[in-house]
Symmetry: C2
Subunit: 276 residues, 2 copies
Amino acid sequence: MQRKQLIENIKTKESFLCVGLDSDINKIPRHLLDCDDPVFEFNKAIIDATAPYCVAYKPNLAFYEATGVAGWISLEKTIKYIKTNYPDQFIIADAKRGDIGNTSALYARSFFEHLDVDALTVAPYMGRDSVTPFLGKEGKWVILLALTSNPGSADFQLIEDNAGEKLFERVIKTAHTWAGKDEIMFVVGATRGKMFEDIRRVAPESFLLVPGVGAQGGSLEEVARYGMTDDCGLLVNSSRGIIFASNETDFAEVAAREAKNLKEQMSRLLAERNIV
Amino acid sequence: MQRKQLIENIKTKESFLCVGLDSDINKIPRHLLDCDDPVFEFNKAIIDATAPYCVAYKPNLAFYEATGVAGWISLEKTIKYIKTNYPDQFIIADAKRGDIGNTSALYARSFFEHLDVDALTVAPYMGRDSVTPFLGKEGKWVILLALTSNPGSADFQLIEDNAGEKLFERVIKTAHTWAGKDEIMFVVGATRGKMFEDIRRVAPESFLLVPGVGAQGGSLEEVARYGMTDDCGLLVNSSRGIIFASNETDFAEVAAREAKNLKEQMSRLLAERNIV
C-alpha cells in the first residue's frame, strides 16, 4: 500500500489503530479449541469485529511460529482472509527480521511475495545490507526498530556516541540515507511519551508504528501530542487490550467495543489537529 | 547440549566445523525437484555426507520461511532427521530473533521446545528482556549477534560510546551480566581477522560462532590464530562453500570432500594448540 492510500484510509476511517494479532493459542477462548484451526477461527472473529475501527493488522510471528507448521498455516490463512475481505487494511508482519544481504533477500521473498504483506518489522543491528534488500518494492514497507517500549531498550538503544547522539537517533538518521518516508517507518514505543519530540526532530515526516498503548502502559494522548504530524504519521497498535479483553464466548463483541473506544479517542485527536 | 559435551565432541572429531544448511530451493540440484520434499532430500544427503566431518548444523530459517508452510515442514523434518540419526550434532537455528519479553518467551518455546534445537541466534538491539527468556534452559544456548561479517556491520556495531567502547563490545559485556559461558555464545564474523583479539579481551572463554569462512572471504587460519582458546571456543560455519560446491548429481560427494578438507585444516589447527 502506498503512503498516500494509507493516509487516505486514516482520514476516511478517522482511525490510526492497528490491531495486533498476538493470537497465543494458550490465551484464546477455550471453546474455540474444538475447531480445526482455533487460531484462525479466533483471528477471523476478531478481524470481522474490529475491521470498522482500524486501518491495520499486525500479526506477531512469534505467536504463530510457536506451534511450527500448524502456526504457519493459521498465519497464511489469516493474511489471506484479511486481503480477501478487507483489502483496505494495511498488513504488518511483526517479525523483527534482519540478516546478511542474501539472507534478508530471502526474508523479503517470504514476506513480500509469498505472504504478500504490506510491511515487515526489521531489526537494525546488522546495518545497511541487512535492511536494503527489503526496500525498493512498490508499495512495500520496512518498519525499523528504533526506540522500543520494553525495559531492556535502554541497554543499547540509549547509548550515546562520542558526539552525544543516541543509538536510536543514529539508526533513524542512517536509515534515512537508505530510503525515504515512502518506504521506511520506525517502531517507537508509546511508553516513551515525551521522547517523541526527539524522534520527530530526526524523523519529522515518517510514519511511526507505536506499540505499548494499553497493556504496556503508554498513553494515546501523549503519543498524539508529541508524535502526530499533519499527515497523522502514526499507527498505534493495541494487541492484548483488544483481542484478550474477554476470553469468554463474547470475546469478539468485547474486542469490537475496545477497538471502537480507541477509534473514538483517535477520531477526536485527529479532529483536534484538523486532519479530519 | 552442555558445553562440556560440545568440547568433547570437538576433540573426538578433531573438528569445529558447523555446516550451514542455507538450503535455498532455487539453488539445489535440479534433479531433486521431482522429489516430494526437495529441500529435505537435499539436506538429508548433505547431512549423511558431511556428518563425519562436523560437530554442528545450522539451518538458516530464512531459507525455509521463504516457502512458508512447505519450508517449515522441510525444516522440522531436517531437525528430526539430525536428532534421530546424528544425536551428537549440535543444532543451531539461525533465526536472529529478539522481541519484547513475552514474545521472546514464545520464540523460546518455538525453538527450544517445539523444534528442540540446541541453540538459537538472537539479535541484541532490544536489550535484556528480549534475550533473557531464552536463558536458563538446561543445555540450551543463546548465540547473540556481536560483530557480524557483512559490510553493514560497521553502521552500528562499531559505533563508539563516549568512553571509547564499541557497541559490539558493550553487547558482549552486558550479555555476560545476564548469563555466562555455559549458555551464551557470540556471532563474530570471520572477515574480522585481527579483531578477534579485541573480542577475546571481553569474551576470553565464550564460544564464538564464526560465519564468513569461504564464500564471505574469511580465513580459517586467522580465526584460529586470534580466536582459539584452550577449549577451542570456536564453531566455524561454512554454508555455500560446502552445500553448493556442486549442483550436479555428485553434490553430496563434493560437499563431503569440502567438509573433509576443512576438517583436516581444523584438525591441524587443534593439534598446533595441543587441544587434540
